[in-house]
Symmetry: D2
Subunit: 402 residues, 4 copies
């Protein structure tokens, strides 16, 4: 048996593989978090993060998971009894909704089929009806990690504007930031929530909130008890490059390096690369005769592709076979998709050959698991990748640029 030898292919939609440069940057002695040397680090990561979020406003970094950053967004902007509009894009939107509810917020949850992004039209219609402006915030997941569907944030912004509604726009970019085109300021987002272990290519352990002036103002009057997540407590020491409590220093070392890598490649190049790899993946899936969960081409995720299993075949059984035979991790179906889909992550440090190795593993796994499919998916992906970069990239950039 040649099982579990060689390099593991971590093709889940996050945590994404951490580049050696980033791991090594973290593998250094911790320093005094009250020193001038630390302040330099602090400023570097706070300012560097602004470039990735594309904001001139503050970005707050918590020692937390992305879930913590969700909570920070809620407790700094909303009050018990407030009403928000959320969209059921999938498992994570549902989890976020549950969290919102636990904080005593009323949620108007636009139902979804988990195969489409948030509909700007429906959001606009809801807001138009809300003439009393009871809705305090629209909360949307940019890239629904459970389904591989992106929501068009700039269109949702337009819908809010058209409805002349004052609601805050709170966006989860946990699995999109640093991989998918995203513009906090230009798109008028009030809070952008993110984390370290996806497009930032870091291990898990950091949560982010990019915040607008309007969001910050909301935080000054809202009525939610909080301490750890309080923005104002953060922003005071952040001005000098410091944090109000001990930060996750070594993860910040990694963040500095990861931001440098993103900017070296260029954010547009990073986004275009993700688009190409995602399109190549879909070419393979289509060739196999399998179905991509996402039904709307303009909403295909550049970071992951969720694939439906044919009826009578269990996705988790398939994933086990892939792991046991080919040393690759694929993402599971979550919640109502358990056993029905598997998810291929192609984000972060991914490149063509890594992706093709991964798709080979999927194709071999389908065969090993007895899942009906047409052989040749890898070749189809290769054919796609052979197309000119210039030709295919813009087409796909439209997905989020519309």
């Amino acid at each position: 048996m040649t099982r579990h030898q060689g390099r593991h292919f971590l093709q889940i939609p996050g945590p994404s593989p951490v580049p050696d440069r980033v791991l090594r940057a973290m593998d250094m002695p911790v320093i005094d978090h009250r020193s001038a040397e630390f302040a330099e680090l602090g400023r570097a990561v706070l300012q560097g993060s602004q470039k990735v979020f594309k904001t001139a406003g503050p970005v707050i970094i918590f020692p937390s998971s992305g879930t913590g950053a969700w909570e920070a967004c809620i407790v700094n902007t909303l009050s018990p009894g407030d009403k928000v509009l959320m969209v059921e894009t999938g498992h994570f939107a549902t989890l976020w909704r549950q969290m919102v509810a636990r904080w005593g917020i009323e949620v108007d949850f636009l139902p979804g089929d988990w195969r489409h992004g948030a509909s700007p039209g429906e959001v606009g219609a809801k807001l138009a009806q809300d003439t009393g402006h009871e809705i305090k915030a629209v909360m949307v997941v940019h890239n629904e990690t459970s389904t591989g569907v992106t929501s068009r944030i700039s269109d949702i912004r337009a819908a809010i504007d058209e409805a002349k509604h004052p609601a805050l726009l709170l966006v989860d970019t946990i699995s999109s930031l640093g991989s998918v085109d995203y513009r906090h300021d230009e798109w008028g987002v009030d809070v952008t929530v993110s984390c370290s272990q996806k497009g930032f290519m870091l291990p898990p352990g950091l949560g982010f909130n990019a915040i607008s002036e309007k969001a910050r103002a909301a935080g000054k009057t809202n009525k939610m008890p909080r301490s750890y997540w309080d923005w104002e407590e953060m922003l005071k020491p952040n001005a000098g490059g410091f944090f109000p409590y001990t930060p996750a220093t070594n993860l910040l070392y990694g963040l500095r390096e990861a931001i440098a890598m993103l900017l070296e490649e260029g954010l547009d190049a990073v986004f275009s690369r993700h688009q190409r790899l995602a399109a190549a993946t879909r070419a393979a899936v289509k060739h196999w005769g399998l179905e991509v969960l996402c039904l709307e081409p303009a909403e295909y995720s550049p970071v992951l592709t969720a694939v439906l299993m044919p009826p009578g075949h269990d996705a988790d059984q398939f994933r086990r076979i892939v792991l046991d035979n080919y040393n690759m991790s694929l993402g599971a179906g979550l919640s109502k998709l358990v056993g029905k889909v598997f998810r291929i992550g192609h984000l972060g440090e991914c490149n063509e050959l890594t992706l093709l190795g991964a798709l080979s593993g999927v194709e071999l796994g389908l065969s090993a698991a007895g899942v009906p499919h047409r052989a040749g998916g890898v070749a189809a992906a290769m054919a796609y990748l052979e197309g000119p970069v210039e030709a295919n990239a813009p087409m796909h950039l439209k997905v989020v640029d519309i």
Copy 2:
């Protein structure tokens, strides 16, 4: 100039220096947090942590700083309007009190002079007066990192018991756990709060709550909104070695290694080592003619020593000179002690020669800063360390064993 060359001496009272074994354990590819391989890691660190907290009950690990673990302790046990008894042992007790207040809890804050630990007698007296049992919890910092004073938790437990008071006992062991003798179960503590970057010798980024049955029961009826910190949400997946949201995987790799190191040395040996190094440090301070901030020998901290500067001399100016000339970080005085004390950390991976190098740096720094002192402190520390391990260790172990 020979400045800032060679190995930095990180002698702050945490983060403590991370051993190479731990850093290297963390410097490995991240794995799928839903895999069987992860479950093994999860179980290893959850069970290993129990040994360090000396509890048979659950230990919860958050991706957070220690401050987050403070908050978790509060929101899982108390309700708005509750009253708690806290003791002003120093800066961190004061910060914790502020956090408690932010959560709408009324605090009876026993005043302190920052030079003594929490008085079991005063705590007992307060509880005895509270015949209506309005006090829901007694909250104490085991090792006050800002002052180098420990509080005798087992005595406080005894005082609560004597008062036959049902209050929960909530203890901050942020800078003591894994360095100072501590017994969650034996001492009847309800929640023990800790973090990764002190006795666990890890980078910052993990918060801990060890919880008693009684604390857990309190959490089932208390009225504090919460989601990220909710124990019950954690305990469900923890049973299988998993976490409800993405854990800080690489820090958990490090935690597994750090626990192994603590158990290899033996917790009692670890505690005894800290006692000896602390006593040696005090011998140096005494020889220099400087004053240890802690006034009660039975409460000397084994992990740090806060030293008072003579009047007219600024501790921060001294610390800067030490950093610039001898490449060593010392801890600053905090809050009302700013400029008045410096703190020498001697915890975690510290050993005799590292300590003596550090004390040499203090002595040279005193001289360079023109602080009046009697030369020979390092020699005094050496003289102490030459004493038989068997003879001096038990004497000091009494500090926390009383």
Copy 3:
């Protein structure tokens, strides 16, 4: 452009990719090379190496490249004016011959076409003619890294025995040891030369000589000046786990870990894995309509495949395109094969998906470089790999077992 992003595919026939476990084992403080702790390390690697060479006799480890181990083999066994029989299997055999000549040895160099291994028959015939036993040694390269052709060492041993010739058998296993079945003792080899950066999965920097009793005896009377490479100087301190001069300590840390990895997987499993990956590679090459340089199926290399470019196409131009477009390094044609072949390394830490990623890169590169080929090579490799492990492995193990 998405160029040079993500993980580099190092698919040269060595240095092979170093596993994270090995790199991290090396990333530790150097220790005193005269300490008891070092002696443990020394014994571990010296004894562990014996298992990989399959010898009960001594293995000598030099701080050197493999070229140094070649030289050590020569100067410890031969004398100026001696005559040896060598076989022109390719570039490295030719280089070794040049080195032998520089040491004043006469070489009878059996000509070869670089597409076959050493012929046991020809070797036997030469020895049979040498009735005066002027030939002191037969020197053969086990796996010719420049051509991807293995020589059947056990058959050559048989040929020597049949000729009843006393010549020493000196074998270069630089690119085969730890990847291809090899048995120093069982095959009666006198000196086996190897290095760290191929099957041992280490960075370059260690050279090895495994030596028979007969070789050692030869070294006691031969007349070649030497000091650094002298076996006897090594063997004395080696007995205690030490070395006569400062060893490459951190590479030895890595060697200890690498040997552990090989033994954990099991040498037979390692060999079988290499056989399968090599066969899959040839399936791809055949499908592309390209020609494998090696003409003898029983001599196909399990560690690399050298592929002939169609006339009119330059292999180095192709390799450049692959590197620039797909971030993969392939091996160049060497010496008379410059521009005519490229070499695909599939050794060491390689597994199925890594190989398929690499083959995808070759196929895409052929296309990008305008090299005529039939698309579908990757699919052919996948088809091969889908075959039952049990069925195909034994067939291929025969390659070297004949």
Copy 4:
């Protein structure tokens, strides 16, 4: 017991502690040694090394120990039957002499007492007598690692010049280069031999030869068989940043980083730092009432101090006690000094506090071993270090500048 906990103090005179930056630079994937990326690395280390050797001529880097670099120096410049003048400065000079003899060279070995450096006067006298110019080379160890005595190379150069003797000047700087002022070109040295694990602060595994025009010319006509060590074979590919056989790539990564560190600090600052630390060490030794082996102040080594044990006390027993009790490695007495001296290394990454920690360990060890001494040596070292850098540094720089 607090034994073997915390950071090990590696205070042998090499290998010296490897800085984290260097270890981490080495902890990266190996690259294709025939690629453009490698050529950049190759050029960087070859040119950077020239700055450290202070030469405009070529520096050759071998995958070898320093012993290998000794051999390379010999076989590239001398011929069997040649005569050389060497000086018995200690154990390593004696080993080098033995190596020279093994290569069939006649050695005129000026006897020494192991407590003084090579005498320029005696060397000059010998050369003056050698009117037939039979002596082909003068071979001297710059810093005798076994004794802690430096030889004044510029004075020896002057003596050779005064004698108008054409002998080559071959100098071993194995434990001095990068720590002690050394000027290959200015001092007219023909071959400077060095290695990676001392002043370069790398793990062992690289050997160096810096060579003059005259040395290179000698190598073109000398009659020593060689291949691995042949300079000309190296120099051809070196011109493009490549090597004739697989180089120790990861050590070269480390070398690039280490050279950067030396140049960032500034070579003069590095030398001055070593002088100060050495002088502080001697202040301690003197205070203890022990004797420094080196009898000539102008020849005190800046990198190590060898200390004589009082009669009746065994240095190795003392070293064992220090290791067992204080987790520090000291250097042993070698050859005729076994048991009679111990050696304190203070080179490479060493700084004041590391040194003072180390000296504390020596003082505690003397006490634990019952070696008569006057307490207070560490204080004496501190007193020395308190002196103004400007005042003491120049005084000591004279040691090698005379």
